[in-house]
Amino acid sequence: MDVLRFALRKLLAGVPLILGVTLLSFTLMVHFGPDRTFELLGKNPTTEQIAELRHQLGYDQPFLLRYGQYLRELLTLDFGHSDATGEKVASLLARSIPVSLALVLPGFVLGNLLGVALALLAASCRGRWPDRLIMAAAVFGMSISFLVVIFVFQIWFCTSHGLDLFPVRGWGMADVPDYLRHVTVPTLAVVFVALGYNTRFYRAVIVEEMERDHVRTARAFGSPPLRLFCRDILKNCAIPIITRITFTIPAIVIGGALLLETSFGIPGAGKVTYEAIISGDQPVLKAVVGLTAMLFVAALLVADILYRVVDPRVSLE
């Protein structure tokens, strides 16, 4: 009951945030955005034709009314039809978001697990050469542009200039081998780029916890390393880790894999977003921005509830 009341209060607190995001993006993209009247009309339109199209597009309505319309679309999740393809925005996103998730999740999970493993190795050898080597490699990895990683991996794994093992572009989820064929190189790229940041983050968190008195005491009493790590360190690291993971998720679900999807020609939400940006497809952009904001508020809520789960001292008040 407490949790429910807390969740409701948090959701209410998220309303100003969603209003802010939608107002900001609406003002920038729609109010100042491109005027499509003459793009859609034929040559030499009459004044009536212009007026009629502007009415259809809603350009003749006052700002607040159009913004209200947007909010209604967001509440009903009915964003109308894409300007570019005429497809319903809802079905466009329903088709592309699962692709993005299937594309990014393996890399996200592997990147975090490997990051924790390397961070543990570094933290347990603190100050000695494995630590220095791992941290130097992390800075090295952080300094390489994601774009360059994608290009080099494409050339190396996917073309005749390298190993030529995987297709350069395209996507398929028909069966497992098909999925693996298309997801491997993007996953390697994601892991490579994220690993440096993840390792540094986890090492900093773990080192801080390892220095605490109760960990030293537990070690002095002969607690086995694995138990020490799981019970005394990991649990206390949970809050920063939860924060980091929950706040990456909204960005990943919608639009996060934009660069990856455009480079590999994968029909996910990122590519849909990119194409909407390039062609000024406002119904799609409005849907993407609105949904991201809603997911963000949901992530805030989930993070707050998880804080409570891992740390009973956090109050729900």
Binding site: P16, L17, S25, M29, F151, V289
Partner: protein, 295 residues
């Protein structure tokens, strides 16, 4: 009266200030010094471009299509015969222009709003700033850039505006937290007790005590800005005039299948060198300026 009091409270010569300790530590940090030197070399290359000393023929067709590496063209030529090395060096100036402009403005805005919000924490100003931070962090970055590009209608600096308006939030959050800590300390209480106005307290007593955070944040925002420039220019949302590493990388995608990698190699190596040096510098500064370690 309050001014001389503030000056007397400052550090007298011979006293080990945070900055003197930090400079001392930085001078003994070989990796940090090396990073600083590398950044200096890049800066020199950029200044040379601005002053017209070199890389001025970046847009001229001076050779044949995909010319080989030679004494005249150190890294060959691109698809239409422009000198790749000159384009790479010219892009260094673009990178510094983007990095410096974005980092200075974003850190300044973040420091100002963060300090005001932190100083007035709990009040409505703080609420508004926190709301603004939440709103900006909840908008996907690429969409923000595209939206601002739309709104500014082909303004050549729309990418810079977009980066400044998204990158200030990190600094603001950090500074706000630090100022909340600072405002409870005795020297702020003392300033308040003798009637120093709030604005003066923020600018004279509080903000200077966050400079060590701002310096580190500056290097990190600089890195973010040049890395984002590359991605945005590649996507067609970035640099519109001149040349940049992102545009070179975008050009290089036309050359992969023909087995021409000079654009990719030059642009990515120059980019990597600068980002790596800045990352190392940020680490060195962080180590040197961390008061816990300076103690």
């Amino acid at each position: 009266m309050s001014r001389s009091a503030a000056r007397d409270a400052g550090d007298s010569p011979g006293h080990d200030t945070l900055w003197r300790l930090a400079a001392h530590k930085l001078l003994r940090d070989r990796a940090g010094l090396l990073a600083l030197a590398v950044v200096g070399i890049y800066l020199l290359a950029a200044i040379g471009v601005w002053l017209g000393w070199w890389a001025q023929e970046w847009a001229l067709i001076t050779g044949s299509k995909w010319g080989p590496v030679s004494a005249e063209h150190w890294f060959g030529t691109n698809i239409i015969g422009q000198d790749i090395f000159q384009r790479g060096i010219y892009s260094t100036a673009t990178a510094f222009q983007v990095g410096l402009l974005v980092a200075v403005l974003a850190v300044a805005i973040g420091a100002l709003l963060g300090a005001v919000a932190g100083f007035l924490a709990g009040g409505w100003v703080d609420e508004v700033v926190l709301w603004l931070l939440g709103v900006i962090d909840a908008v996907p970055f690429y969409l923000m850039v595209a939206a601002i590009a739309f709104a500014l209608a082909d303004y050549p600096y729309s990418m810079h505006v977009a980066m400044v308006s998204t990158f200030w939030t990190g600094t603001a959050r950090l500074v706000r937290g630090e100022v909340i800590k600072l405002r409870g300390l005795e020297f702020v209480e003392a300033a308040r007790a003798i009637g120093v106005p709030g604005v003066t307290i923020i600018f004279r007593h509080v903000l200077p005590n966050t400079f060590h955070i701002l310096l580190v944040k500056f290097t990190l925002v600089f890195v973010d800005a040049i890395k984002s420039e590359v991605v945005l220019s590649f996507l067609g949302l970035g640099v519109k005039e001149g040349m940049s590493w992102g545009l070179m990388l975008s050009e290089s995608t036309l050359e992969f299948l023909a087995g021409q990698f000079n654009n990719l190699i030059v642009a990515s190596s120059l980019l990597f060198g600068l980002v790596f040096a800045f990352n190392m510098l940020a680490d060195a500064l962080q180590d040197a300026l961390d008061p816990r370690r300076a103690a």
